[in-house]
C-alpha cells in the first residue's frame, strides 16, 4: 500500500491527481490525505484530514510514502524506516506562499531513503520502479545531539 500525505496547511491537487491516475492505471492500493483539495481521488481511498492515530495506522501499513516536500513527513518516514518520494510545491502554481520547498529539494535528495520529483512525469517514473526504492536503514543523529546539547546549555545559561 502507498500512503500519500500533503500536510494540513494547503491542498496539493497536482500531486494527488498524479498518484491517483498512476494508481488507477496500475491497480495499486493507495490511501491519500488530501487536505482541502478540489480534486477528489477516483481510485485511491482518501481523507481530507486525519487524527494522529489514523495517520500512524496508514503510515505503518504503507510500504512507500509519498508527500509534499515538507519536513514533517520526511522526518517521520526516516524514523519509520520507509522510503519516501517528495514532490515540491511551487509558488508560481499557487501551491505555497513561497518556494522554500523547491530550495530544499536538492539536499532532501541526498538523504538516504528520500527520493524527489518536481513534475508528475518524474513522480510516475519513480513509481514505476517503486520496488527498487529502499529506506535509509539508520539515519545519522549526531548533528541532532550536538544541537540538543547546545540548547540544553543555552537554557541553563
Amino acid at each position: 500500500m502507498i500512503f500519500v500525505a500533503v500536510g494540513t496547511q494547503f491542498p496539493f491537487d497536482r500531486l494527488i491527481r498524479c498518484v491517483d491516475e498512476w494508481a488507477q492505471e496500475h491497480g495499486a492500493a493507495v490511501h491519500a490525505q488530501i487536505a482541502g483539495g478540489e480534486y477528489v481521488p477516483q481510485h485511491a481511498n482518501w481523507d481530507r484530514f486525519m487524527t494522529t492515530d489514523a495517520f500512524n495506522d496508514q503510515l505503518n501499513a504503507a510500504e512507500l510514502i509519498i508527500s509534499h516536500a515538507g519536513m514533517g513527513n520526511i522526518i517521520t518516514a526516516l524514523e519509520q524506516n520507509k522510503p519516501i518520494i517528495v514532490m515540491n510545491r511551487q509558488h508560481k502554481l499557487g501551491e505555497h506562499r513561497n518556494d522554500h520547498q523547491a530550495d530544499g529539494l536538492a539536499w532532501m535528495s541526498k538523504l538516504p531513503g528520500v527520493y524527489t520529483a518536481t513534475q508528475c512525469s518524474e513522480m510516475q517514473a519513480l513509481l514505476s520502479r517503486k520496488h527498487e526504492l529502499v529506506a535509509s536503514g539508520q539515519h545519522d543523529l549526531s548533528r541532532r545531539s550536538q544541537l540538543v546539547d547546545f540548547i540544553d546549555q543555552a537554557i541553563r545559561a
Binding site: 500536510g7 494540513t8 496547511q9 484530514f49 486525519m50 487524527t51 494522529t52 492515530d53 515538507g70 519536513m71 514533517g72 513527513n73 520526511i74 522526518i75 517521520t76 526516516l78 506562499r97 513561497n98 522554500h100 520547498q101 530550495d103 530544499g104 539536499w107 538523504l111 539515519h139 548533528r143 541532532r144 545531539s145 550536538q146 544541537l147 540538543v148 546539547d149 547546545f150 540548547i151 540544553d152 546549555q153 543555552a154 537554557i155 541553563r156 545559561a157
Partner: protein, 153 residues
C-alpha cells in the same frame, strides 16, 4: 547533557513540520527538564504525560489572528512561569518570543531546517529579539547573531 537543576521550558510551534522538529529536539530535553508545549492542531493527540496547550493557529495569511494567539500565549506564560521559551517557528513561536522578551524570559529560536536558502520570515522578525538564534544550516550562520550548532537531521 549536563544534569544540574532542571528548568521549566515552554516549547511552541506551528503544526506539521515545525512541530515534528520541535518534538524531536525536545525528546532528550524532556529527560532533564519540565516541558510545557503549545501547538495549534485540535486533531493532535498528546503522548501520555505530555502537557500540550492548544492555541489559535496564525500564519502570514491571517495576521489578525496574532491578537487572540498572543492573548493565549500570554495567559500560558503567566500561568506556567517558564524559565525559557523555545520555538522552531513559525508565527505562533514568533509571538511567544516577543512576549518572552516583554516578560524577561530567556528565548531560544531554532529556525526550521526547511529554510535552506534564507532564514524564515518569522525568524527574520524575531532575529533581533531572541536571546539565542540558531539556524540549522552552516551557510546561513552569521557570527554571534545567527549560530549554527547542529541540526535535527
Amino acid at each position: 547533557m549536563s544534569t544540574s537543576t532542571p528548568r521549566k521550558i515552554f516549547a511552541i510551534s506551528s503544526p506539521g513540520g515545525h512541530w515534528i522538529q520541535l518534538t524531536r529536539l525536545c525528546k532528550e530535553l524532556e529527560t532533564q527538564h519540565q516541558m510545557i508545549y503549545a501547538m495549534p492542531d485540535k486533531r493532535f493527540k498528546p503522548k501520555q504525560g505530555q502537557k500540550v496547550y492548544s492555541v489559535i493557529d496564525v500564519s502570514a495569511d491571517d495576521k489578525w489572528k496574532l491578537i487572540p494567539c498572543a492573548l493565549q500565549v500570554c495567559w500560558i506564560l503567566l500561568k506556567e512561569r517558564p524559565d525559557a521559551i523555545m520555538s522552531t517557528g513559525a508565527a505562533p513561536g514568533a509571538v511567544a518570543v516577543m512576549l518572552g522578551k516583554l516578560f524577561r524570559i530567556r528565548t531560544i529560536w531554532v529556525d526550521s531546517i526547511a529554510n535552506v536558502q534564507q532564514i524564515s520570515r518569522a525568524g527574520r522578525l524575531v532575529k533581533a529579539h531572541a536571546d539565542v538564534f540558531l539556524t540549522q544550516w552552516p551557510h546561513l550562520s552569521e557570527d554571534e547573531r545567527i549560530l549554527h550548532k547542529g541540526s535535527v537531521l
